[in-house]
Subunit: 321 residues, 2 copies
């Protein structure tokens, strides 16, 4: 199913989030305005605001709180991307040159800081203590996950458990915050908040696994960035882990991680992963997390929102970008 179809129950509100994202660059300082406009203009999938809005639709749907919150989660996501690209020296993202490529690392770091502050300011307008605390806590969790990833660059001794813990921190935590905030700001009963959080947490893990698969299977055009980026950064993802496990001898991932010389190790690893059952295995793991994500959704009211959350789980494992 198309993402646009899934978003239908909240399309009007998503359009309003888009307007608010654009308003952020409306500042009295031309250079900053240009950076903000470039980093927030509509090229992302906006999945996190969709989660916030769909979660809110189950209960007391108050747009005065939900719209700034849905905007906040997208801004926060973009802040992390701007910093990720800056520290990874990535040159392309979503098919466009990155902020650090166009304006340098210095401005990318400062812009990321500004975006975190903007996300915090938007969250603060909800005046909801639980949501505000979760915002700060989530940023702490994401940074800690990224620091963990940085320390484990080119480390071959990482198991599946560590991989899942890391992607839970760097991706699932913000997914979970997106549904929690939407539900809490709509006066959802605690049981429903927990169901929506567990849904998003598992969905986030599945989402990141698929992201890690696409780094091997996608085309540069689909990905909007070079293939094999994770390997180039020394990030051991699930497909690479399975490649090491299935081909313990003379493995290109091992050669790359030990020598840190790219040569043809990355293209060889991509080729081997594509010509094996690894992709299928990884999709199975992602699919299991999606099943887990949807497990308790039936306890929520039966409405368009619930249907969209179920469809979103299907979309996550079928997307190619």
């Amino acid at each position: 199913m198309e993402l646009s179809k899934i978003c239908e129950p909240v399309q009007e509100e998503l359009d309003e989030v888009e307007v608010r994202l654009r308003l952020i660059s409306n500042v009295d300082f031309g250079h900053l305005s240009e950076l903000l406009d470039y980093s927030l203009k509509g090229t992302g999938k906006r999945i996190r605001p969709v989660l916030t809005l769909l979660s809110g639709k189950f209960y007391d749907y108050n747009l005065d709180y939900l719209l700034p919150m849905a905007t906040a989660v997208e801004v926060m996501h973009n802040a992390t991307l701007v910093h990720d690209d800056a520290i990874d020296n990535s040159s392309v993202r979503r098919g466009r040159p990155t902020i650090n490529t166009l304006w340098g690392v210095e401005k990318a770091v400062l812009l990321g800081d500004y975006l975190f502050a903007e996300a915090g300011a938007l969250t603060a307008t909800t005046e909801n203590n639980r949501v505000i605390k979760r915002f700060a806590d989530t940023l702490r969790t994401i940074s800690s996950g990224e620091i963990n990833q940085a320390y484990n660059a080119f480390n071959l001794n990482q198991g599946r458990q560590e991989y899942i813990e890391r992607i839970a921190k760097k991706t699932a935590s913000l997914f979970s915050m997106s549904t929690e905030s939407g539900a809490v700001l709509s006066q959802a009963p605690e049981e429903s908040v927990q169901i929506l959080m567990a849904y998003a947490y598992n969905l986030g893990i599945a989402f990141q696994i698929v992201d890690d698969i696409l780094d091997f299977t996608g085309t540069e055009e689909e990905l909007g960035k070079p293939m094999g980026s994770d390997l180039a950064q020394g990030t051991l993802t699930l497909p690479a882990m399975l490649l090491l496990k299935h081909y313990p001898e003379n493995n290109p991932v091992q050669r790359l991680f030990e020598s840190r010389v790219e040569d043809d190790n990355i293209s060889k690893a991509i080729e081997m992963v594509r010509n094996s059952s690894i992709i299928q295995e990884c999709y199975q793991v992602a699919s299991d997390y999606c099943t887990k994500a949807c497990h308790d959704l039936e306890q929520l009211p039966d409405n368009d929102s619930r249907k969209s959350l179920l469809d979103l789980a299907d979309f996550i494992t079928s997307r190619n970008k």
Copy 2:
């Protein structure tokens, strides 16, 4: 007067802030713990927490709110330093190698993000909407000031007004937030909050002017970093501006900014500033801001805190590090 004497009315609380700063590094992830410990250990002057605590002492002094808040402003300050050093490639700060020197830019950026989140989490524990909103707003202001500074690197066409506006954003805004939060969390009447904010705003400007003077007059040992760092970054500060104004012909600052070649331009500029009336002129500007800072303090209750705020203004212009 010694800073320790000025801090006396809140020394016990400052010690508790120090304990809380150390507790932040008590996380279940060794590498992160090491980074946090290094960046937060007690080498700073802790002026911002002092401002929060002294401001609180005028009214309903509730340590449950003031201690996390005083800790938060110091953590936020340290977060900005970690990012500043990372993007400036600074190698030394407070007499020690910087985070980026010891662990690389990637970890410095991520650690700064974590520290911003930690400061946000501490602020959120106050559950005070005004203070929480000010926190996000201040981070936005600081980042915007830093972006402005980055865009104006090596730009000779900057006037006094632009200089003051920039240091107001990058330094005075956090000073002002420090007193505002202390006062608001102690149920100070709005008039007193405004007086304390204006005090800290002007004090912050004076503080930054003195910082910019010390970059010319201090020794590397006193500064804990190389002299002339601002010029090396292309940052036009008040002493450099006055040097350009007083010696419009064959000026080393102009040569440096136009060629971006350091040669002996920096040492020549330092020498010329030291052998002129510029230092005295700059101290006069700082001193005027301190006078302005203290102007309305007499409207506050006459107590030890008020005396310390007055003494702090004197200390700011007499410090040599």
